[in-house]
């Protein structure tokens, strides 16, 4: 578990997490607090009960509800050959991006992090190769591909041509919620151990 933290998390947070590895629930509390102030979490599983599995990256804010960001991102997606692997969102050499399945998270900051760091099964690391603002714009376009508005705008067999701006509320952390269309009483699960 901790060796994974080391790969995914930078600087200051890393130190806190490492110190937490061998300790008990008291340290786990610190861990959740530390995570909320910096770094990008890709796992939706956080040890030590907490429904908060996201961070708040202030840099991401201006790319929400921003039609220009997704339009610019669409242009960059082709210029940097992203389309060579991910096509128009349907994938090929790389995975599809329009299917709403996210291994490393769907939040703008998580997608941005994937672009910066690359991923082990073939995603290149673009950090330092491309201006950071462009990586955010790319992240916004990639996030837009699976939005219902973008999917609804597809008219032929080429998707993602009229990308909708990414609404701020799609990335609001709603915590853990029961699967849709279920009627079980999930009350104890959402409130955690007493």
């Amino acid at each position: 578990m901790c060796s994974r933290c080391r790969i995914e998390l930078p600087g200051a947070v890393l130190l806190v997490l490492l110190s937490g590895c061998g300790h008990s629930t008291h340290v786990m509390g610190q861990q959740a607090a530390a995570a909320s102030v910096g770094g990008v979490i890709t796992s939706s599983l956080v040890p030590g009960y907490s429904h908060s599995v996201s961070t708040l990256e202030p840099q991401a804010a201006k790319y929400y509800d921003n039609p220009q960001a997704v339009t610019d991102g669409k242009r960059l997606f082709s210029q940097y050959n992203c389309s060579g692997c991910h096509s128009n969102g349907g994938g090929g050499m790389g995975p599809p991006l329009m299917d709403g399945e996210w291994i490393y998270g769907s939040r703008l900051e998580q997608i941005h992090q994937t672009l910066v760091e690359g991923r082990p099964n073939g995603m290149p690391a673009w950090g330092g190769k491309v201006p950071d603002e462009q990586l955010w714009e790319l992240a916004a376009y990639v996030r837009s591909m699976s939005l219902p508005q973008t999917l609804a705008a597809q008219t032929g067999n080429t998707p993602s041509q009229s990308p909708a701006a990414v609404p701020r509320d799609v990335d609001q952390d709603a915590g853990w919620s029961p699967p849709p269309d279920t009627t079980n009483d999930y009350g104890t699960l959402t409130t955690g151990p007493k």
């Binding site: 082709s78 210029q79 940097y80 050959n81 389309s83 060579g84 692997c85 096509s87 128009n88 969102g89 349907g90 994938g91 090929g92 050499m93 790389g94 995975p95 599809p96 329009m98 299917d99 690359g118 082990p120 099964n121 073939g122 995603m123 290149p124 999917l151 597809q154 008219t155 032929g156 067999n157 080429t158 998707p159 993602s160």
Partner: protein, 624 residues
């Protein structure tokens, strides 16, 4: 015709709902040229002049093993075993199976030597050795080469491997991340490993290495990544690099010297691999070697096809783009080029020249000639004189409208400008499609029938070229492609082709493109697999279906036949759909994007309704 009309009508009524996930209507028959109008030969057929067969040097007497994917240097894939016949094949039964633990496209041939079967999987390229002398063929050893996981991200069309070879006590294969590895065949212990590819340049290796005369011949993949293609020879005992020849650039890099005597004038001149490109473009111009290398034991020559030029956007590389999309003959000891022929000068359609070449002796023009037969992506069966590189005949075996045959005086393909590809505008109904009238999956030949059994495609495409930037280690394509079925709507065909009389003898239509190889036996049977998961045997003389068996996933591998330790005949094949055409299943790829997987998804979006990903070895025999 009626069915086709219905398709069009439906599409017109529900354009949005159907466009994204429905296979488009087939290209009309009137869009392609007839075989009679574009097939050419230097002489009329003279079948009475002799019997077509491979020479004993290139196809030695069958020992009942299957030690290399192509069976022999002639690449006939002909098994002389006769226990299985057209009369009894209906009783063919599975005798054991083995899970490969990898659910990606399985293109390899199972290899049988000294009563052991060897299988290499798609990435992560596991090698399994199974003991055929024991019930159920238990695992003898397994080897995991651990290729770099990131190599998956620079593999254009699934993470396939086309097989290994047993020679001199070693099993020799390559890995996706560009290693060539020799294992001790008995123990599975590595004898040597040589890294030839650099994934940060976009280089991978997927081809089946050819082992001949104490040398291992290997080439790279990555024609969609702006690599500079090459072939290399390694010493079989040590793995040391003996020579490496690039397929673009100045003559000294291409190993072109005094020995080089191409048949046609347009291939003669200094540094054509540099001068037929815009400045520097040859450095990122593709020309990889991911298909088949063949050794001619009679002429001590290797032949191999060179893949497409890059990028796909041909407007970015005016010129003939030598030495891509053609075939080289080389001296195996030094790599020195002997001759070259370009199937597709200035390729505009991704017509790689990497498909297999069969080495046969065949009657032509009244006498026996040493020929090389190659079924190109561009749709023609080429018969070349393999001593000189001269084209004797070229006839279409699939739907063609990108060219009007081969000019047999100049050797040059007669390109149809109406189906050229252009920057910024769409060319529609181009036939054959980018993956060709046929892709890598190899043909077999029976000396009994004199026929080639060609597993192939019947697909066309729409294409728009776009500007593309070169960034090392990323795709360098520059084309938006949407594929579609060819005339008739069946996307695949098995054609029995008579190379002497230059015509098809029979054809079997398949719903999906045939992406498996074929294998033919002395019992008069042709084996192949379909992408929807049927492994089939048809009559080599008529094409009549005699047996089929449903395996766990689509078949895109290479069937083989061998004599087991008990003396009985066995047939083996891998299941596991994938490859370029199967990416929609093994990907994952979203079928709503017709341009996905380089435009293949447009024509394969229904495959997930027929099969799921898998990866299993199947072995069959008659009850005994």
């Amino acid at each position: 015709m009626v069915r086709q009309f219905k398709f069009v009508l439906l599409a017109a009524l529900f354009p949005v709902a159907l466009a994204a996930q429905t296979v488009p209507p087939p290209v009309p028959e009137s869009e392609v040229f007839s075989r009679e109008s574009i097939g050419h030969a230097l002489a009329e057929p003279t079948p009475q002049a002799g019997h077509t067969a491979a020479s004993p040097a290139n196809a030695p007497a069958d020992d009942g093993q299957w030690s290399m994917p192509s069976k022999n240097f002639a690449s006939t894939r002909f098994s002389s075993l006769t226990e299985l016949t057209t009369a009894n094949v209906r009783d063919l039964t599975p005798v054991f199976s083995f899970s490969l633990a990898v659910n990606k496209g399985q293109e390899a041939a199972p290899i049988v030597a000294d009563n052991v079967m060897y299988v290499v999987t798609a990435y992560p390229n596991f090698v399994y050795a199974l003991d055929l002398t024991k019930p159920g063929a238990p695992l003898k050893w397994k080897f995991a080469p651990r290729p770099l996981p990131a190599s998956q991200g620079v593999a254009c069309c699934d993470v396939v491997n086309r097989g290994g070879t047993v020679d001199r006590g070693k099993y020799i294969f390559d890995t996706l991340d560009g290693q060539v590895i020799a294992l001790d065949a008995k123990s599975g212990k590595p004898q040597w490993r040589t890294r030839l590819g650099n994934i940060n340049l976009g280089e991978t290796v997927t081809m089946a290495p050819l082992v001949a005369g104490g040398r291992v011949f290997v080439g790279d993949s990555g024609g969609e990544m702006g690599v500079r293609g090459w072939i290399a020879a390694l010493d079989e005992n040590s793995g040391k690099l003996l020579w490496k020849a690039y397929n673009t650039g100045p003559d000294k890099d291409v190993l072109i010297g005094p020995q080089f005597k191409p048949f046609y004038a347009e291939d003669r001149g200094t540094d054509l691999g540099e001068r037929t490109w815009p400045p520097q473009a040859w450095k990122i111009g593709g020309g990889t070697v991911w298909g088949w290398v063949t050794y001619d034991a009679e002429l001590d020559t290797i032949y191999y096809g060179v893949a497409n030029p890059g990028p796909w956007n041909a407007d970015q590389r005016p010129g003939d783009n030598k030495w891509t999309a053609g075939i080289f003959a080389r001296d195996p000891a030094t790599g020195a080029a002997k001759w070259y022929y370009q199937y597709n000068p200035h390729d505009e359609h991704d017509y790689d020249g990497v498909n297999e070449q069969l080495l046969l002796d065949m009657p032509f023009g009244g006498k026996m000639r040493k020929v090389l037969i190659h079924m190109d992506r561009n749709g023609y069966v080429y018969v070349l004189d393999r001593t000189t590189g001269q084209v004797l005949s070229a006839d279409p075996y699939g739907p063609v409208n990108t060219s009007r045959g081969v000019d047999l005086q100049s050797g040059r393909l007669i390109v149809n400008p109406d189906k050229g590809t252009k920057f910024g505008s769409e060319t529609r109904d181009i036939c054959p499609t980018a993956s060709g009238a046929k892709d890598w999956n190899p043909t077999s030949f029976s000396p009994q029938t004199g026929l080639l059994y060609i597993p192939h495609e019947n697909m066309c495409m729409d294409w728009t070229s776009m500007q593309v930037n070169y960034i090392a280690g990323t795709p360098y394509v520059g084309a938006d492609v949407h594929m579609k079925p060819g005339p008739g709507g069946n996307r695949g065909e098995l054609t029995a082709w008579d190379p002497v009389n230059r015509r098809p003898v029979w054809q079997v239509k398949e719903n999906f493109p045939i992406w498996s190889g074929t294998m033919v036996t002395a019992g008069g049977l042709v084996f192949y697999g379909s992408m929807d998961g049927w492994f089939k045997a048809v009559d080599a003389r008529s094409g009549n279906l005699l047996w089929k068996y449903k395996v766990d996933s689509g078949v895109i591998g290479q069937p083989v036949s061998y004599r087991g330790p008990d003396g009985h005949q066995y047939v083996a094949v891998l299941s596991g759909v994938g490859g370029w055409s199967g990416a929609v299943v093994s990907g994952p790829v979203d079928p709503r994007d017709g341009s996905a997987a380089l435009g293949m998804i447009n024509v394969m979006s229904d495959l997930p309704k027929y099969t799921t990903a898998g990866g299993t070895l199947y072995v069959f025999a008659l009850p005994h």
